[in-house]
Each structure stands twice: as structure tokens, then as C-alpha cells.
Amino acid sequence: MSEQPQVPPAEFQSYYGKPILKVSRWREPHLPAYLFLGELSGALAVVGAAADATGRRSLARVARVTAALGAYAGGAFLTAELGRPERFLNMLRVAKPTSPMSMGSWILASHSGLASAAAASEVTGLLPGLGALAGAGSAVTGPLLAAYPGVLFGNTAVPAWHEAHREITMLFAGGAMTAAGAAGLAASAVSPDRRDFDAAWKLAMIGAAVESAAGYGLETRPGKSGEPYRTGNSGRVLAAARYLTLSGGVAALAARRSRTAAAVSAALLTGGGICAKVAVLRAGKASAADPAYVVASQRPAEEPDPAMAAPA
């Protein structure tokens, strides 16, 4: 797809330059923190099950405990984000496939339950069979928890979110692997026996590759709707996220031999993941605040958007 101006600037009209859309009420640090902790928990649940199945006991233990803590901490940030936090349970009043937040609430509720059951069994040694079963269940809810926020952002009227839903979803899936890898790297930096953690640094590198590729996809998104990902404050934060994630991925190469490298890599990857979430939130706010983005995305001169094609 060739890049071309979608609306000649001279023809752009607006009502005193006022926004057509309302700028999102979602806040920092609440929403980015929730996104980061949710995907961390989601990916760590899968790591816990895989580590358990392959006999990496110390990694399984760290992963399961952190997965449970991450789910609860994420849920706390999500609740604090509400205008009426005391009505959090209204989220479970209905189940609506048309509402990614409804689906996400059910996923988070199931995931928290399964992850904490697995962690409780891991820590106490009680009911190991049920604990493994819950751990396996959380390995199913985990990827869903990490991937659904892409739909949460995509299913809005905000051009930078709606039209880039594929890149955002992949950014979060990659970010989930990176976050889980970083947690394993951090644990390996202080663990007496580091052999179990080989999978963590491999996962960190895979995640960093996927997250960076998706971030690059956002920054180079053709057309007007991608502009907030390469310009302004949101563009700078996304660029920072990519530098942090890439350098963290490179540092993970040395994590096997060096505890310091493991710790540095974990910090860089975590910082990159959090910056990426902040960048997506800010890009959406910039996209909603300027009526030019809305008009550009709706004028018939625009080419059909490849993002709306079904996944291959």
C-alpha cells in the first residue's frame, strides 16, 4: 500500500478545531499498569505450566506465584480506574461478546482464580493434582488475558486504536512474553541454581523480537491514523519503548553467563513493556483530540484499510 495524503489540508474543515470524539477518560498509571500486570500474569501462567511439565521446578514456582500476584495487582489497578470502584462486581453482571471489557472481566476473574489456586498449591504443597490442573487451566486463560486488550482498544471509535488493532494486539502478545521472560530473568539473577531459567531468557528474546516488530509496525503504519505513533509525545514514548525492548533482548543473550546481565535485561524489558502501554494510551488520546484524524479516516478518498482484512 502506497502512502499518500488522505485529505488535502486545504479541504479540512472542523468546528473551531474542537474534537469530534471524546478523549479517553482512561488514566495513567492505572490503565498501563493493568495492561502490563495482566499480560505478565497471563504469560507467566503458561510459563508455569510449561516449566512444571518439563521439570524446571524453581521456574515453575516463581512463575506461578508471580502470575497470581500479577493478576490481583492488575485487577486492583483496573478497579481503581473505575469511576465507581465499589461497583466493580457489576462487571460480572452480564457476559457480552460485543464488549471486550465484559469478556476481559470474565477472563480476568477466571484467570485470577485458577492462577491463585495453582500458586497456593505450589507454595503449600497441598493438593498437587488439583494445583497442576488449575495451572493448566490458567495456561489457557493466560494467553486470552494477554491478547484481549488489543480488542479492547480496537473496538473504539478512536482511529489510532481501531485501525491499528492488529499491531496493538501483537504488541501486547509480544509484550506478554517479554514481561514473563523479564520476570524469569530477574529471578535468575538472584536464584542459587540458574539452570531452570534457560527458558526464561529464550522467551525474553522471542518476546522482544515480536514486541519490537509490532512496535515497528505501529510506527510505520501508513496513513494519517498511524501518525500519533511516530509523532508527538506518544511517538517519542513508543520509540523509547522500542529501544528499551531491543536492548533488553540483546542483554538477554548474556543472561546465561552473567547475573548482572540478567538483571539489566529484566529492567530494560520491563521498562520497554510499560512504555509501550503508555504510548498506546497516549496515541489514542492524541488521535481523539484532533478532528483531522477522524475526518481523514472517514472520507471516501481513503483507500480500504488492510487492517480490517481477516487474519490470514
Binding site: 474534537p19 503458561v46 457489576n90 480488542v151 534457560d198 471516501p300
Partner: protein
């Protein structure tokens, strides 16, 4: 799921929402060509619905002509836009519209339009609401139940018109109810009742569409070639509005999106993509664990 639940024409919105028996779908036809900018609709709405004052200083002057309301929001459910527009020397010949305020030299025309919630056939706010606080009424309108809303603010970003918003001192989302209480009592909404020129017309949607069509033809015949109906078409991106408009210029001149599409149209493909991303995640972990355990 039946056809057109997410997108496209939907003949019976209330029936689709589960009402076995229900009154006719009602709506607003706002004919901006006869709006005189009196803001009686804004006042009547605030009075009837006991709306609190907007955030900030109510005495602030925006500098946007006579518009000191600014936009629709949680505390402003009708908003009258004022546009002072230069008219080309040889353009704008419509006899009917020249009755609007025009400068002595004829170089400026004044567009005025009372905006309101569109009560979309496919309402994104309703689709994305996770608590079921937003519901379709038996009249085919869309309302928020204040006793259910937990203020997640998802609807705020989903609305393609920037209508619904959260009151920060209250924590919940608010918007036009089309005076649901008055409708239940057999009355017309306060704004339509107060409008002195019938710029705001209330009634069964089918009848309003017919009225709007004949008014459009009248204006076109009178030379007002830029007149157009907005959101009257059930084949548009929101399945047609429960509130629709006759405009005298491009929608964006009034602060309206030119061709809004309900975001949920694309939702099935977004879920598919999220499924693919979840598989990528699981595969990534599988690859990371695929080698032999490190024995170094």
C-alpha cells in the same frame, strides 16, 4: 446471532433487543435550516433533566460565536453550534435560507444546529458497555441506567460522535435519554417541546424520515444545493440514527463525523486476530521450552 445484529439496516431495533411488544420507534429530526440559535432546547433539557452545571466556570466565554456550551457532554445533552461562514460572492442563492441572519453586505451566513445523542440503530456505547448499564428502550432509544453504571468509561471512547462522557465528580457516564421519563408518560422530549421553530421535531422515525425528505426537496428546489440529510439512511455506518439532521454544509463543519461507522462492525475480525495473538504467545513459550534443559 441473526443477520445485522452488529451492522447494517435493522428494521426493528426494540424487537431485536428482546421486546416482544413495543411502541413505534421514535426519534428526532433536527432541521438546522430553521434553527434560530435560541438555545431553548439546551435550557429545557437542563431544566427537565436537572443537569448539574458543566465542569469549570459556567461564565467562561469560548470565543466561538454565540456557542458557550462548546460540545455535548455529561452535563450538556443538547448543544447548539454557531458557525459564522463566509459566503462566496456568487454562491448561496437559496431563497429559503436567506431568511437566516446575514450580514448587511451578504458576505457571511450563520449556520446554527442543535446537536444531540443520535440514539444509533447500532449503538457502539451500548455494544461495549460491560455492565449492561446501557440499554435499548422499548422506544428504540438508548439510555444509561445510573444505578448500574460503574464508570468504566469504555462507552466514552466507543461513541463515534463524542456524545457520552463521564462526570468526574460523580464517576458515572451520562447522556441524552430522549426524556425517557416523558416518553413513558406520553409526552414529547423537553427540547422538542421547547423549540419555537420546530427545528427539533419529535415523532415516529418513519414519519420523520418522510418529513425530512420532503423538506430536503423543498430546499433543493429553492436553490439550497448544499442541503443534505445526515444519519437518515438505514444503510449507513450506524444503521441510521434515531436522531438525524438536515445540514446545510459538510458534517465536519458542525463538528460531526462525516461518515461514522459503529466500531463493532469489525469486532468479529478483531476477536479472530486476538485469537491468533494468543496462539503466537503460546507458541512462543513452547519454543522457549523446546530445547533440552540447561545443564551448564
Amino acid at each position: 446471532m441473526t443477520a445485522n445484529r452488529l451492522y447494517g439496516p435493522l428494521a426493528d431495533v426494540s424487537g431485536d433487543a428482546g421486546y416482544a411488544e413495543h411502541p413505534q420507534r421514535v426519534g428526532f429530526f433536527t432541521d438546522t435550516s430553521v434553527c434560530i440559535g435560541c438555545k431553548a432546547c439546551e435550557v429545557a433539557c437542563k431544566e427537565w433533566n436537572a443537569l448539574p452545571e458543566p465542569d469549570g466556570d459556567v461564565l467562561t466565554l469560548t470565543g466561538m460565536s454565540y456557542d458557550n456550551t462548546g460540545a455535548l457532554g455529561s452535563n450538556s445533552w443538547r448543544h447548539v453550534a454557531f458557525i459564522e461562514q463566509p459566503v462566496p460572492a456568487n454562491g448561496h442563492a437559496g431563497e429559503l435560507i436567506t431568511q437566516q441572519p446575514v450580514d448587511a453586505d451578504g458576505a457571511t451566513r450563520w449556520l446554527m444546529a442543535s446537536d444531540v445523542c443520535k440514539h444509533c440503530t447500532h449503538a457502539a456505547c451500548l455494544d461495549v458497555c460491560p455492565t449492561g448499564a446501557l440499554v435499548r428502550t422499548e422506544f428504540g432509544t438508548v439510555i444509561v441506567q445510573p444505578d448500574v453504571c460503574n464508570g468504566c468509561a469504555y462507552c466514552v471512547s466507543a461513541c463515534p460522535f463524542g456524545v457520552i462522557d463521564r462526570r468526574e465528580d460523580d464517576g458515572r457516564a451520562w447522556k441524552c435519554t430522549m426524556c425517557y421519563d416523558r416518553l413513558r408518560g406520553g409526552l414529547e422530549p423537553a427540547c422538542a417541546k421547547a423549540c419555537p421553530t420546530d427545528s427539533i421535531q419529535f415523532g415516529p422515525l418513519d414519519e420523520l424520515r418522510a418529513v425530512a425528505q420532503s423538506r430536503l426537496e423543498e430546499l433543493h428546489a429553492g436553490g439550497e444545493t448544499q442541503a443534505r440529510l445526515y444519519l437518515d439512511d438505514p444503510d449507513d455506518g450506524i444503521g441510521g440514527g434515531g436522531a438525524f439532521f438536515l445540514l446545510l454544509d459538510e458534517p465536519e463543519v458542525y463538528g460531526l463525523p462525516p461518515d461514522p461507522v459503529v466500531t463493532t462492525r469489525d469486532l468479529p475480525r478483531m476477536w479472530q486476530w486476538a485469537g491468533a495473538a494468543a496462539v503466537v504467545l503460546a507458541a512462543g513459550v513452547a519454543v522457549a521450552f523446546s530445547g533440552r534443559r540447561d545443564t551448564a
